[in-house]
Amino acid sequence: MKLLSFILFITMMSCTGKFSAVFPRYCEFPANKNLSAKELSLDTALFRYPFRITIKDSFALIMDLHNANNYFHLFHYPKMNHIVSFGHRGDSPEDMLSAETFEFQSLDSIWTLDADKMQITRWKITNQNYLVTKEESINLDMRMIRALDFDRINSDFIIPDYLGENRFNRTDCTGNLLRSEGKIPSEQFIALNSSSALAQAWRSFIDYNPDNGVLAIVTQLGEVLEVYNMIDMTHKVIYGPNGEPDFEISDGNGIPTGIMGFSDVEVTDKYIYAVFHGLSFLEIAKQVRKGIKGQDGGKYIYVFSLTGEPVCCYTLDRYIYGIDVNEEKGIITAVDVNSDEPIVEFKI
């Protein structure tokens, strides 16, 4: 009987063609503003694909996604003098196979994620001679299969789910899986047991602000923002005009067919900032076929309230990936993979 009802449900769903909207949508932002980039000159040419940036006090830490030697580079800020590079790329036990993201809390607390090794590492850099040491390596529970982003909540880790059965996983400080929570908020697809393709298409970037308990999740494809408030335990899903990630399934893989969505998110004390691209994969494929090297990155920074309401849209004169927001000084520092001067600032 259950099977019959399930088949009937699936049939009805497929017959309706389009689903009615479940989650609220924003169409436009109440405020729009154009921002011009100011380049920060570097004293060295290090980068191939600068992907993430975080500034703490007088230091800027930048992660290069495709660097040939080291993934992480520490600079003096704002002079941008190179201090030290670490996270050597390689396949020896001490090396990193890949780097997905990092959390820079202080010089003795830099957390990096290696997805291929399924390992989170804490690095320490001495303030005197900037000696880099690996303080601890945490092997993540292999039941999660793959970890493409992480954040720290108290002493636990929160990691987006790669299997599609849940939205994210919580592990303890030793990497053991504690529990899996939430569901992928898709209006079109039902997450089945083998829905890793759905999870791949819904690959998301997360940021958690411990001061206000807000966890923001943005999708790399499509235009979906999720806001979890860990204090009052509320969850809100907001769809943008481009909707949820469009994809097709090929041999169990989620192949993007829609648009490139968000590439970074940051939760500050007042707002949620997210870098948005908006370029369609069809357009990207056309550029590849014609041998054109298009601008890679997002031209927009969307600002949302801590409850997910659209506040402002910044249109940039550069295409960027990662951001660091300083609301007190009114500065957004960003990384641009297309330029030889890859570190830029925007006054907001």
Binding site: Y49, F51, L65, H66, S98, A115, D116, L148, Q200, R203, Q220, E248, S250, D251, G252, N253, I255, P256, T257, S263, F281, L282, I284, A285, V288, R289, D296, Y321
Partner: protein, 115 residues
Amino acid sequence: MSFFMSLNLSLKSQRFCYSPYFVNCIFESVNLFVKYYMMRKTLKKIMLVVIAATIISVINFENPKQFSSLTLNNIEALASGEGEPNIYCIGTGSIDCEGRKVLTKYNPLSLDYTE
């Protein structure tokens, strides 16, 4: 099989050659000889066909057909089996594809990406 049977019959008929039915015997022998001769012709044809087929197969074995790259790609895709994903990971970027970070990934069989 019928050939050997007819041959046996012809031998039997030779034994009857000294019988009073001598004339009939001659006729029967001639008849069988004609049949045997006709079968030899059929046998020759069969042999010719077998030899021709052998020669053609040997020639084909020595000169394999040159496939186009597209055909080879299709063969590779078919031979890759069900476990191996049939996707292309293109360029340098941030999309996770087979453990690499690429600009885009797509299904080469998708109609959306064919011109």
